[in-house]
Every structure is written in C-alpha cells, then in structure tokens.
Symmetry: C2
Subunit: 352 residues, 2 copies
DNA sequence: CACTCGTCGTGAATCGATTCACGACGTTTC
DNA sequence: GAAACGTCGTGAATCGATTCACGACGAGTG
C-alpha cells in the first residue's frame, strides 16, 4: 500500500457544479435547468439562454450517474468483441463508434479475449452500467446472460454471427456465400485438394458450409478436408503449418480456405518458411480483408467483409432508426484476388 | 421513425432486483446488504452468507449509477487513444484491461481517431462518467480539458508520450533511445543518406531526436532528412512513396526510419510496387514491432516497444499500487532485425 | 450484580438529475 | 368582463446504494 504517493494531482478538489449551482446563478429553479437541457421546448427562449450561459460560466458538465439513476439507463451502448487485436473488430468498433457519436451516444468496448468467463463478466458490467443496448460478437453460443439482459429490457443485436435456429436480432455479412466464393475461386483455378482451416465461431461454421457446398456442387471430383482450431490467430496459423508440413506429399493440399485473415497470415508465413511456394504450389484464400492482407509477404487473396458498415448498422438498429429487415442484401461479401491464389501449375512454367 | 419495430426484445421488463429486495429475502436491513459487499468484515459470517445466498438467488447485480452517485466516482478507468486501428494501441488497451480486471476495475476505451475535437468530447464523457482515473495517449499537446480534470481530482497518466518541459505523470518507453537504435543500425550497415518519416506526436519527435543524435555522433559524413506526415498510417506511407519515387537518383535515400510500423508497412509496400529493392537498395526500420511486422512482404526490421506492459503499469499507477519512479528503466526499446535492413550493397553482389 | 466495552445490525440522510402535479400569469373568446 | 385555456416556471418526490450515528445485545471485569 503506497500512502503519500497517492495519485491525486492536486489538492484543489473543487467539487463539480450541479444543477443547483446553475439554477442559483441563473436565478431559476433546478427543474428549469433540467428542462433546459432535456426538453428545450419546455422553457422560453430567453430563460433558456440565461440558463445555458450560467452553465457555461460554471463549466457545468452534468452527472451521468444521477441522470442514469433517475431515467434507468445510460447513453452508452455496449460492444462485446472476442478479440480487439483482430483488426476486423477494431474496424467494427470504429464503425459503431462513429455512428453512435453521430447520435450523441457512446460505445463501451469490452474485449472478452475469447474467454467465456470474461464475456460473462463484461455482460454483468454492461448491466451494472445500464447500457441502453448491446452489440455482441460473441465467442460461441449466445450467452445465457445476454438473453437475461434482453428479457430485462436491454435490447441487443448479434453482429457477424450465425442466425442459426434461434431468432434473435442479428445482422451479418452472408458468410455462407463468402465461403462459397472462396472455395469456388480455388476450384476454378484447378485446385482439387482443399482444406478449410477455421475456428469455433458460428459465422466461421457458415463460411465452412459455403465452402463445402462449393465443393459438393462442383462437377469434377474434389475434396475438402476440415481442420478445426480453437482460436483464429496468426500464431495458431503458424502452428498449424508445422503439422501440415510433416505430411507426405500425397496428403498435402493444393488449396486452403482460412477462417479469417489473421489465421491466413500465420499460415502463409509458416508455409513460406517451410519452403512451400505460394501461390505456385498452393493457393490460399483468407477472409475479412483486413488492412494488412495487402501488405503480406505475398499479398493475400481474401473475401471482403464490411465490418465498419455492420457496426454502424447495428447501432442504428439498437437506436430504433433502422430495422433488421432494412439491412437485407447489404453486407455482401466480395472476392478480392491478390497474389496468394493462382491457377494450378499444371501447364504453367515456374519462373525463368 | 420506426414505431412497432422498436428494438424491445420482450415485454417482461422485470425490473432488476435492488438492495431492498435482497434485504427482504435475507431478512436483514438494506444497510446490512450494502455492508456485506463493501465491507465484508463489518457483518458476521453467517449473515454474510445468508445475504450472498439471497443475492445469488435473485440475480442481484447492483446499480452502478446509484453507487457512483453516492461515492462520487466509478470503478472504471478511461483510456484515450488516438487510433484503435493501430495494433500498438490495441495492445496497450489489452494490457491495461487485463491489469484493470485483476483489480476489479474496467477500462472505457475511447478512440479519438486523431481528432482533437473527438478527444475533447471523450474527455467530457469521461468526466460525466466519473472515471476514477485516465490513461491518455493524446494526439498532440496535453489537452486543457485533461488538466482541468486533473485539477478537479481525477488522476491521469500520460502513456507513451513525451514528458517534455511539463511534469505531468507520464510513462513511456525511451523513444529517444529507440530512435537512436534505429538510425545507428542503419549507419552501421553503411547507409548514409537517411530519411526520418513521421508524424506530429511528441513521442515521435523523440524518436526523431534520437535518430538525429545518432547521425550527429557518427564519425563519418551522413545526412538525415526529415519528412513530416500528419497521420502515421499505412495509407499515408504509400502516399509518401509516390512523392519519393519521383526524385532523381541522387536525392534518393538509402535508409529510412519510420515513425511507426504502420507507416513503415505502407512505405515498404509502396517502395516495392515502385520497383525499389528492399533491403538491397534501401534499408527500412519501423517502430513498435506490431504483430504484422513479421508478416510483411519483406519482414520488417523494427524497434520493439512494450505496449502491453505500459498499459498495465499505467493502470497500476492510477490505482496507486505503483509509482512513476518504480517504472524507471523498464520499457527499454530493443532492435529487432528482420529483413528490411541489410548492409549497403557496395561490396555485396546482387543474387545470382 | 452492575458496569463497561466491543461487536454488529439498523433507521435515516444523502448524492444530483429528472419529472409529475400544481399553479401563476397572460391571452382568447363569447 | 368573466370564463376557459394554454404557456411556462416551480416544489417536491423519486431512483438505489452508501454510510453516519445510534442502539441492542453479549461478554468480560471488579
């Protein structure tokens, strides 16, 4: 316990002005001050002006806690993401934040780091903060706590997650279609031994389903192996390549669809370090189109996913100025061909 | 205005249990319930147990607004960053968050997006939220609002920013030393026409100062040109290369120190697209060692910066369990040599 | 047995903004 | 000219957790 070195910066400690102070200064009642800010039409123009002037002079800020205690909810919206280190979620957060700011709202970002415990802890935090709505990009299943919050009157929107059998409000890009796009691209290039590598999120399952459908629908024989990972990070991607590289040539894939770009970047790095030529020996497609995809050792072919737009839409839905239906058909995935994918080398010659 | 499609998820609207409910259920007074959670020693063990049991059964969460209104500050700490899309800040946030969680605190992340206006707006938000402390990684100068908050009793710590002439609580890596490291590395490789490209942040100025010192101290003739950018992003980095590439060969540098890795990545991409061979023609050193530095077209040589540790320390300082002095000597920058830097090609032969 | 002291539970005041219900005042209308 | 109505300001109650000041009760002491 440190005593003298407490982090107080000054002994001034002037307590912040309250409505009472402003009221006294403007010569009106506390009620009038409050109405001035919450229902401007309720007070006559010149009184309003006087109140605002007094407030400015005193540097009145207002106490959100008191406001919240009275009205029962805060101006903040909660955003729960599984990994803020993933640029996709950073972008989602940025999009949500900009939209929220435009409506005088704020976003509380909570990073669960893929841990269901922390996810639950943060949901409790959101409840204690009385956020007026929650954007959730959850780890796996929809947590019970979130449903409880919904029942207790806090609206939520699932972002970028499978709608599955349930019917909670949810928006997302068409992940199935995106997965189909990715696998089709590889098949069209002559790749036949594909692997899907991805993690345990519902939206990733959809990407997988799309890839699977592409292979099933394909007129020629082609295979799709599935490698499941627990977390979709670059580190894990590299780890997977180590296993992969031990395989005999016959079991080696000629095309990989990764569950997201982070994973793809790790795979790419591991493969190249291991002597695999990308895209000559193997084509690789990521998912999300994060900024860094374009800067990779070999610029990454990927599926673009409109994260920022999703974040903004989710906020608008929570605020009641847009409905889930309004977003249908937006957020279409799009194939971005860069350099990790190339037609199979059967009739191509390797460099000169 | 959408009417029926309001985002209410259910009409249940069961209002959350309060201390009064818990008290009734446990057969004690409201005061006892409160003491149970805030000063456990104050109530006898078996009553404590009974209260906790009742609270669990009711799913009591507690109303932070009421708590805050009474005690005058919240359990949250505010973190203000200039760009959450920069992995450095994501990492800083993660480090701060983990440390905060370990002490039962939460982090409110605010992303100013390099805009002083948004920065000020968020500072106001923090004040209205009555955060118990602020971690700031500000855009440029220390905003007046932050000083005001400090005067009014909210402690703050400047993270990763120059200490300059002022004497506000601040921690950061030794940016001057890092800049020196970067430039020295290039000079040691025989590079002589250096450029420092970087943005308007105080900590970047220190990196520049360090680079300058390295050049000044160097026994042989060498030059350091300075290119200033307003924002240090990959996009800007690419834009700068376009200008650079138009220069005649005589004005072209053989070594670049970038203000951060994002900028370096953009520069790298732009240079390579423009036909410059890195590192043969030009060595490049970034700053921060973000995860993606290792995955770049050419893996990026950079200076490691311990962002997560900085975030954790800042939280500990705000919580009063560590003092600014305790951190001295930690957070030392470290040169990470990858492949964008190589001895100048005077006596080297270009591949075969 | 009476008195002191410490332990531990309780009633009530408090934090600051919001909002209901009331009333003062001025205007319109027959 | 009086009744009816609308506008706009105000006093007071309210939200839920915390904490002060008090007191009940039991144990220990002379």
């Amino acid at each position: 316990m440190v005593s003298g070195s407490a982090p107080k910066q000054s002994k001034a400690e002037v307590s912040a002005p309250t409505v009472a102070d402003v009221a006294a200064r403007a010569g009106v009642s506390r009620a009038t001050v409050s109405y001035t800010f919450t229902q401007p039409g309720r007070v006559s123009p010149d009184l309003r002006r006087r109140v605002i002037e007094a407030a400015d002079e005193l540097g009145y800020v207002g106490n959100e806690a008191a406001r919240r205690l009275r009205v029962g909810h805060s101006l903040a919206l909660g955003l729960l993401v599984s990994n803020i280190g993933n640029p996709v979620y950073a972008e989602l957060a940025a999009g949500a934040e900009a939209e929220a700011a435009a409506h005088g709202r704020f976003i509380l970002v909570a990073n669960s780091d893929e841990s269901p415990e922390r996810e639950r802890a943060y949901l409790g935090f959101f409840e204690s903060q009385q956020v007026s709505g929650i954007l959730a990009a959850p780890v796996g299943d929809v947590p019970e706590e979130l449903l409880g919050l919904g029942r207790r009157g806090t609206p939520f929107v699932l972002v970028g997650t499978a709608t599955g059998p349930h019917s909670y409000p949810a928006i997302s890009g068409d992940n199935e279609r995106g997965g189909h796009l990715a696998a089709s691209h590889l098949l069209a290039q002559g790749r036949r031994r594909l692997i899907f590598i991805g993690g345990p999120h519902p939206h990733v399952d959809l990407r997988l389903a799309g890839a699977k459908r592409a292979v099933d629908e394909f007129p020629e024989p082609a295979s799709l192996e599935i490698i499941r990972v627990q977390v979709q990070t670059a580190k894990v991607g590299e780890a997977v390549t180590r296993t992969l590289l031990r395989r005999p040539a016959t079991g080696f894939p000629d095309g990989i669809v990764a569950g997201n770009d982070l994973l793809a970047l790790g795979l790419l790095h591991g493969l190249i370090m291991g002597g695999v030529r990308v895209p000559e020996d193997l084509s690789l497609v990521g998912y999300d189109d994060i900024e860094f995809a374009d800067f990779a050792i070999v610029p990454l072919t990927t599926i673009r996913h409109p994260s920022a737009a999703l974040g903004a839409s989710a906020v608008r839905i929570l605020l009641g100025i847009e409905s889930e239906r309004d977003t249908l058909g937006r957020f279409e995935p799009e194939l971005v061909v860069r350099e990790t994918s190339l037609p199979a080398a059967e009739d191509a010659h390797h460099d000169g």
